[in-house]
């Protein structure tokens, strides 16, 4: 196959889209252009029956393209139903039957997949940086959901050994700590601008699953604030590149306004 030109937001989209299976049910949060483009791409190509609740409110929307906001009209254009955010949404989301996947960002994410969107610093009430707050993630981490993390700025400041504050439950201290609290589900995948990570099934430590073309195990490790585990056979493959058709859909149909590119710091 000839080399397809693509940008980093596009390989993040295709890597995320590849995680979905038909019948999965996913909702997106605030300021999440890449996750939304990935969902739209998956629904257009590999998993037309992927259930999407746009902005945790619009059921099965058909937006013409990625909108200027992921928590505003017209993201939920052509929805078949609107859920009321405060109560109705949580009636569906608080049990395991629906909306099993939540695709979310974290200002800090640690080696066991615990996120921090609350504060940077050691004193919660006099933080160095006040972050937006846990919002729905503080619930999603404890409700048996599958968490898909994404971050277009993979760095030692974002992927840290231990978060300053645990805004939601990942695998806590690792091993069976999560199970012992009676929590099911948990972090499943981390897609960044450098590669794709998952979690070791026993230790629950973050593990490098693939590196994006142009990256190496060493370069991803150098950008990470803790030691990443490698697959058991020690072999870290390249992330599958976007196809020409995926790139065309993303550029011409899904995100012609290049919101994902700006989100990933790609020049437009």
């Amino acid at each position: 196959m000839s080399d397809v030109e693509y940008t980093v937001d596009e390989i993040m989209c295709t890597a995320l889209a590849a995680q979905y299976r038909d019948g999965d049910e996913v909702c997106n949060g605030m300021a999440s252009f890449i996750p939304i483009a990935a969902i739209m791409l998956a629904r257009m190509t590999t998993t037309p029956d992927l259930v999407w609740l746009a902005g945790a409110a619009g059921v099965d929307p058909r937006p013409a393209k990625v909108a200027a906001s992921t928590l505003e009209n017209p993201l939920w254009g052509d929805s078949v139903m609107y859920l009321e955010q405060y109560s109705d949404f949580w009636h569906y989301a608080q049990n395991g039957r629906n909306l099993q996947i939540f695709c979310v960002g974290a200002a800090q994410l640690d080696m066991y997949g615990n996120p921090n969107n609350s504060v940077i610093g050691t004193d919660y009430h006099r933080p160095k940086v006040r972050l937006p707050g846990t919002a729905g993630l503080g619930d999603m981490g404890s409700l048996g959901k599958r968490l898909f993390y994404w971050n277009p700025n993979h760095s030692p400041r974002a992927l840290v050994e231990k978060v300053d504050f645990r805004s939601a439950a990942g695998f806590l201290g690792g091993g069976d700590e999560r199970e012992k609290l009676g929590l099911t589900g948990g972090p499943e995948i981390v897609v960044t601008n450098l590669g794709v990570m998952d979690f070791h099934p026993v230790s629950k430590r973050m593990r490098l699953r693939s590196v994006h073309p142009g990256q190496t195990v060493e370069s991803v490790q150098a950008a990470t604030g803790f030691e990443l585990l490698l697959p058991d056979d020690g072999n870290v493959p390249e992330t599958t590149k976007p196809t020409a058709e995926q790139v065309r859909l993303l550029r011409e149909v899904i995100d012609p306004d290049a919101h994902c590119k700006r989100e990933a710091g790609v020049k437009v």
Partner: protein, 287 residues
Amino acid sequence: MSLQEAAALVGDGDVVALQNMATQAAPMAMVRELIRAGKKNLGVVCLVGGMPVDWLAAAGVIDRFIGAAVSMETFGLCQQYRKAVEEGRVRVEELSETSLNARLGAGARNLPSLPTRGLIGTDLIDINENLKTFQDPFTGETLVACRALVPDVALIHAHRCDEMGNVQYDPTIIWPDLGIMPKAAKKTIVTCEEIVDTEVLRRNPDRTVLPYFRVDAVVEVPYGAHPTSFYPKYTYDTRFHLEWVKVARDDEATKAFMDTYIFGPETQADYLDAVGGAERLMEVTRL
């Protein structure tokens, strides 16, 4: 009733539940009036607070925030709020969405608390005296009890009301906070796009979302949610948000901004002129 008379129903130190979801549906005219009136030591409750929380923090009106997040979504963090928290001027009671819903739900139902399954395993429980884990008496399962929250006042913006306080909403996505805040709060103040005769409401009772016996004051304020969105009538004002984001990192520029848009305009019409008049209104109503 005027905005000034309605604002007089809010006392210093009150806990105020504010309708808002990032860039959506905030009673902004009422928020500006609270700032003009020089209210002090308010606590503000939001699911996701945006520009109004930033303004209230900048003006020194609030000293605590109770809610799940503060963000202007695509326009980024609320810098004045952030600074106020980092300097210790605003204290944060950070809740998840279900625990905020449980606190307000218990307040509305006159219960001491309601439980949630959310937050288990997080650091948010230990630092919050209003959250406690307990064993469910039926299953033995560990849950989080969320203490009842009864705000002193709920502030809501709606499409139309009658003089008695019946509140109507047009079909739109997310009726932020209408379902819970006025039901939990001791008082409710509603600003609305228009006040109409009760007979108008009777034509579509399915759109009436709050009954007059739960509403204490109504004020007609067209475009009263600007610069936040208020579908289906108008969307959020992108240019205005960008202007605020640009000044909010600088205290002097913030002060000048507030003089221009909050302290300067005497009426809602003056305010709408200040933000760009008919041209800007045409822009935000082009959905």
